[in-house]
Symmetry: C2
Subunit: 351 residues, 2 copies
């Protein structure tokens, strides 16, 4: 990426609607937390030390020994709306988006792999892609991790494994998560609760679309491992895959049943969502995500044929504030955003 | 009317959308309560006495001395669904629709004037028409009342006037009511409350669409006189007209303001209602009436042009159970009715 303005044009592969089990798994994410030896964790480091870390990572990236063709962007080069945009694309964290110095973002050319410098840890490396091809994601982060480990001294303990700022990340430093849309299972709340109840003792945690502390909206659930310490990466991966596959099966089964026994309540809900998106003159992000879920269900069980699922997926991004404002080329008040959002949805869905 | 089956084909003039101030006043109704001398009120009369009264009225009608060309229908000739249909057309009362004997209905050819025999009083005579042409309605009921009075002995007291079963009707026996749709005023609830507060001491009462004890749905309000005793018919008429005209002015003014300052919230509400009616796969009567109000507002302030107000008016009738079942030619469970109702609305509005 030669110019910072080009970041708006970067691909967003995790919204492609492609990949393994992409009819249930929106996207998979694999994240590693790493720190450099002989440096305090970011929250305790001086500004000089933080800059030193930024420079060390910058040297590695610009030398093209790790992640060739990746772009290194110091935080101070990013405007608030650019940081907000990276957040909306799930390439940086909410806390990181608030900051404007002593950090950096690294993005590979395809935007599948990204790295935050001086977030909670010195290095937060992630691979993010559509579907739930967790093996491939693991290969990607692992390769970059290995390459980085060759040129940087990681903080590592024989006893605990990777040392991290927050103890919940210590050990493997690995967090795996899958965004799943479960509109059919969500119709029977008891069913869904039973599944999640089962996921919990297995060391997995279920959250809303926007991660930690967020509500579930639009029947999009984020399933991730709770523990990082005491297990190998492969065991974590295996456990998550097992539960995720069960959920995929159950959701697919619930959809099949819906297709066989067309239920008027479900049909009504789906078509009302379509009517709402066709006609509303203002629309909050949250309301969009709720209708999105109903429409996706409608597409998946064959009731809605006039909407491209891909267009619906991409709207997840375009309805969000930074993307919306960029699209219309101006700052918008929250009320104006609701108005432009309703218009954007109609336009992008061809309604 | 030669055949009872033809009652389904009778006109429904009060839904024509015509008449004075028909942009605010859906319909006006003028009702007189009368009783025959030397007969107990219906609730205290024996079956023989009730039948005697029915026969006396039948003789008057079939002799064509009063209401020539009117049809006399004994209750026992009407099925439950036919009585339900007459109720939905506001030609008989809910209590009367429950009964199947010892009473009768008289309908004039245009269905503007109707008469219940042995409802709460021996005679309940009403004129019902679109708009609020109360003078004309008064002339109509008054003429029939005079004609009936010539051939029947009314129970009358020099002191109290007409004697009625319930004292709230004694005196003039006159109840005047106007169905008004006030969607613009209803947007500012405080405004509407102030108006109704003013109406109350003037001896007027405000109710929902379905009369006594009914909620206001769809911003349709029924305004009527509370008192019948101690005032002349002209004074009652004058008082109601005065308040009604003020309400008409205020509603029209509120709509003008809405047209001048297009408010996104109002626009959003109107178009969401359109989207709902276009797409819903099941619809309760109540929900229809709510959307009806928003759509009427949209039509009245020029936002919705693709729907004929007349078609919307007529749906008030067709969405109701008896009319809906007649249209589809079969009995329908409540759930089925909701499904057929949604379909009927789309069809009749050409959505």
């Amino acid at each position: 990426m030669s110019d910072i303005n080009e970041i708006w044009e970067m691909p967003v592969p995790w919204l492609s609607g492609q990949g393994i089990h992409s009819d249930v798994a929106l996207a998979g994410r694999m994240r590693l937390a790493r720190n450099l030896e002989n440096y305090p964790f970011p929250h305790h480091a001086s500004e000089d030390k933080l800059e030193e870390i930024v420079t060390r990572i910058q040297d590695v990236i610009t030398s093209q020994t790790v992640l060739p063709e990746a772009t290194f962007i110091p935080l101070q080069r990013l405007s608030l709306s650019e940081r907000q945009m990276l957040l909306e694309r799930r390439l940086i964290s909410p806390e990181f988006a608030q900051r404007s110095s002593h950090g950096a973002v690294v993005l590979d050319r395809q935007c599948r792999i990204s790295l935050m410098v001086n977030e909670e840890d010195h290095i937060r490396l992630q691979a993010l892609d559509a579907g739930m091809n967790l093996d491939l994601l693991w290969e990607q982060v692992h390769r970059v991790d290995m390459d980085l480990g060759k040129v940087l001294d990681y903080a590592f303990s024989e006893e605990f494994g990777s040392l991290t700022s927050c103890p919940t990340n210590t050990g493997t430093g690995l967090r795996i998560s899958i965004l799943m849309y479960l509109p059919a299972l969500a119709l029977d709340e008891g069913n869904l609760e039973a599944i999640f109840h089962q996921a919990n003792p297995a060391g997995l945690t279920v959250r809303g679309f926007y991660g930690e502390g967020s509500d579930v909206v639009g029947n999009i659930y984020q399933i991730s491992n709770k523990l990082t310490l005491g297990w190998t990466e492969f065991r974590l991966l295996e456990d998550l895959l097992k539960i995720a596959s069960q959920i995929v099966d159950k959701e697919q089964d619930a959809r099949r049943k819906l297709m066989e026994n067309r239920h008027i309540d479900v049909e009504d809900k789906i078509f009302r969502s379509l009517g709402l998106l066709e006609r509303a003159r203002k629309l909050s992000s949250r309301e969009f995500i709720e209708q999105y879920a109903n429409l996706m269900l409608g597409i998946l069980i064959g009731l809605i044929t006039e909407i491209e699922p891909q267009a619906l997926h991409e709207l997840i991004l375009w309805v969000q504030p930074a993307h919306l404002q960029w699209q219309y080329g101006k700052d918008l008040s929250p009320v104006e955003r609701d108005v432009y959002r309703a218009e954007m949805v109609r336009t992008k869905l061809g309604l």
